[in-house]
Amino acid sequence: MSNATPLLDVSGLTKHFPIKGGFPIRRTVGAVQAVDGLDFQVAEGESLGLVGESGCGKSTTGRLITRLLEPTAGTISYRGEDITHAGRRQLAPIRSEIQMIFQDPYASLNPRQTVGKIVSGPMEINDINPAGGRENRVRELLEIVGLNPEHYNRFPHEFSGGQRQRIGVARALALEPKLIVADEPVSALDVSIQAQVVNLLQKVQQELGIAFVFIAHDLAVVRHFSQRVAVMYLGKIVEIADRDDLYGNPRHPYTRALLSAVPEATVDDDGPVRERIRLVGDVPSPISPPSGCRFRTRCWKATDKCANEAPPLVQVEGNKPGHLTACHYPETEALIPARLSKNPGAAA
């Protein structure tokens, strides 16, 4: 990954939303530090998962990458080209290569347009006329996402939540993108439907070789979908690693706490009891985040050093290359080793 130019290269990405106040002249009185200095890359055909609790800045990150928001600082490069402050004209060809899938399958489809119109919309805007006509292409796309091509003339309300999300996927695929930013694409769906859409996205990613930035709060879904995972907390990446390293050997206390809080549908005596960490309190406000390490107010290992010095995101001792952790006192023991050793034989 390090030798070739990554598809997407983000460095020092920052977004502060100003807070206006005062009378009669409204001034900026503060800022919500939604995203504060992110560095990460996405290689071609790779899927990067962004996880974190609400308010950690994961959605803002998605909107910055797609340039729906203007970054406050930092750079975004797409295929080596700096698009941080690119104008409409420069962005136009890139926009068709970066697509987005949204969380709410109800709000993200125009109720007055037919499926055909919705899915062919991106082609119309970009004036693309595929061989065989747009209608044919749309039918093809509907088939790829597992919908009946005969439903070309139906309206969104005639579909269930899962089917609507499939329409959203078809629309994102219409321009043969290289990168799809999926913002909580399955969290609004029922469990049984969620698996259908995850499988569809996985098929799309593997067969069409599209890179994904997969934003979700559900750690189990992200584990299933992403090759690399970044954990965010209050606008910063606290840990980023390959899937197996992150879930098997998390070094940041927050990653561990997050993993231990996920309820699993297993009964206790199914195996060794999982590590149990209960964080106290809530996520602090991003308007005035804690000094130093932002997690320190909820961390059980915090010391004065954590309050004074923000830990850099680095490869801490014992980590594999590419596994970066931002912590002064990284965890050292592997997580639930007994269960992990069972995994290889699990694919029966």
């Binding site: 609790e53 469990v191 698996a195 750690l219 189990a220 584990r223 706490a257 549908a265 106290v280 809530d282």
Partner: protein, 345 residues
Amino acid sequence: MTSTDQQPFLSVKDLKVHFSTEDGTVKAVDGLSFDVAKGKTLGIVGESGSGKSVTNLTILGLHDPAHTTIEGEILLDGENLLTSSPRELERLRGNKMSMIFQDALASLSPYHTVGRQIGETYRKHTGASKKESRDRAIEMLRRVGIPQPDMRVDDYPHQFSGGMRQRAMIAMALVCDPELLIADEPTTALDVTVQAQIMDLLKDLQQEFGTAIIFITHDLGVIADIADDVLVMYGGRCVERGTKREVLRSPQHPYTLGLLSSMPSLEGPVDVPLSPIPGSPPSLLNPPSGCRFHPRCAFADKVSGGLCSTAQPALDVVDGRGSACHLTLDQRDEFFADFAVSRHN
């Protein structure tokens, strides 16, 4: 559920809740029976539209009487709630039974302080003075783990964070020491770390007060954490019930099996696709004939004579364990074996 010596605290018998709409009758709940004992937690799992919330609104008497037909029996401590007058129900609600909802912000009044809302219930049911109810509110806030309760009692809901609002709602629900608590997806809108806190809190409070809890959720992981017994609903009916251990480890109904195998996990293989349940949940306006799950069931063709699409399977419950499926037990052992291998290797 094995309350042999005593009668269950809440007993729902053959409950049917039908709504009349312009398009026809919606059979939201269609013949549901269950019991909850004191100090126990019954988890009700199901997807959207399975009738789990309607069941519990009916227990509390919160349905719209003009458009609802209800049959069956709901016995709370021997008293039939379906024949109780609105006045009697009002006496019970908030006092003997209470409820926590999913959306704490929508369930709290934005115009009144948290303390007043908690105290109001207490005053109404005990006739306490303003001072007493305020003290009670502070005590409850302390008990649910709100820091500086004597200050926060005068805050408005918007000054609380999401997790704190949920705690305040729990405080409100528990202010009169109810014997039955109905929690309808109380943690769904919360982050996992806060969800874990709230579930711990509910478990602690249950231990302390011996409350019977009905916990409604779509998340089997949450069930595994909090429930004693589990009831799986599909299309307004119970398809499977048993202890948490029985249902999660050896599911007997294809739907439960499907739910479990469609869940991604933090452990186990990642390179195999998930096994979703095909199709989508049925419309309760025109539910499928026979077994309501048969159009989505992977095993419907294994039953001879097309029984699944013609006859509704009976729910035979022995010692609180049962499932409604036409497959024989031997068939299930055979077909479900793969599941056991992949999940509990």
